[in-house]
Symmetry: none
């Protein structure tokens, strides 16, 4: 799978070009194409904004027209915020991302100028439109932000990679029980569990809380120290 | 479902604050909180960048510390680019988005300053970390771009939802802090934290353990009773 080319058509502000390049670098895209930039090329503002993405700017290809810029691509999507009266499918960024990942084909995404968006004869080059759904409050996405959303989606954000950061080994059941028995003993001595009817429920609830924390062996030893310190007695059977 | 609050901690550049507000408006978020902005508040650069999001800036709440800014929230995530040696789960933006959608709870996402990211004692406030996976070429996301990725993900359509594990309403940050401050006070009195060099690490580790348990408000009240009983003193400010 090759990530899509990003094609900026008649971009107006150098810093948007630079910010788009940086967003591409953030998410592993590197084929930037620029069609007729308003302020010429190279552009100092673009360079200033392209932190860590200078090489993407240097390798960016310059073209006179959108049509010329996309000749080598197999699939092309055109971003558009407005409704266009064209019989083309309208995809979400997620659908574009899936399409980009589904083969060895060369793909690209067209972005229009900040003020007006793509002209109709540029939109018509594309197989499909892509619209980034935005809130009614502020429908208009900044150019570099639109590039970012598509780059992010195309990078195929990894799904569940939840890692627990306990470097230590988890407590064994016996270690956990050692701590918990100590806690219950201390609570019995203090009178906290004196309601005999309520006692089993309270003990079970406490156990559940501490189990949910997924304690390491080291953490269990810390908690034994905590109970001993609070109860003002040395921990009788420290592990 | 309420979208998460966005909490910018010690942001440096006004135009990043404005661009973050615009990204929030694009995707239907509107609770912006700003902690100790470097250049004071209000900020002309922020306003200039916040096209269509002026009302979000106007309603943004200003706070002196991250801790003060998050007291009313039930769940809090901290964005971090670096590895942090803390026993907290690390989530993807998609996982955070699913969690935000899974109930009526008030949630928030912490973002650190542009240059340094969050301090450890700010990260430690959060239930979990969120990392936006980026390419090796340019790992560092601009602050407003990071807000955009999370706002975009959180605006997405509901899918499978992560269930929070307690039937009762989770504790708010302020409820949790009330318990935790009581615990630390009792441990200070008992001499458990007398090693001044070790104290901050021990306190952080203890906090992380209890946070991992995902305590409900009721459970927090039980633990307050536990600490009071063990320490042999009435709980001064029971909730």
């Amino acid at each position: 799978m090759a990530p899509p080319a990003i094609i900026l058509v008649r971009p107006q502000l150098g810093w948007n070009i630079g910010a788009a390049a940086r967003a591409m670098a953030n998410f592993g895209l590197d084929d930037l194409r620029i069609v007729a930039p308003r302020d010429g090329w190279p552009n100092a503002d673009a360079r200033a904004m392209a932190t860590g993405a200078g090489d993407i700017l240097e390798r960016a290809r310059l073209h006179a027209t959108a049509r010329e810029a996309v000749g080598d691509l197999h699939h092309l999507w055109a971003t558009t915020a407005r409704h266009r009266d064209m019989a083309k499918p309208v995809l979400t960024p997620g659908e574009v991302a899936r399409a980009c990942r589904s083969g060895d084909l060369r793909t690209g995404i067209l972005f229009g100028p900040e003020s007006t968006g793509l002209a109709n004869d540029e939109v018509v080059l594309a197989d499909a439109l892509v619209r980034i759904p935005t809130s009614g409050r502020q429908r208009s996405l900044n150019l570099a932000q639109a590039v970012l959303v598509l780059a992010w989606e195309c990078s195929g954000s990894p799904e569940a990679v939840t890692e627990w950061r306990t470097a230590d080994a988890p407590a064994t059941m016996a270690e956990f029980d050692g701590f918990f028995d100590q806690l219950v003993g201390a609570l019995d001595s203090s009178g906290f569990l004196r309601n005999r009817e309520q006692r089993p429920v309270t003990v079970r609830n406490l156990r559940t809380m501490f189990q949910r924390a997924g304690l390491s062996g080291r953490e269990v030893r810390t908690l034994r120290g905590v109970v001993s310190a609070l109860a003002g007695r040395p921990d009788g059977d420290s592990v």
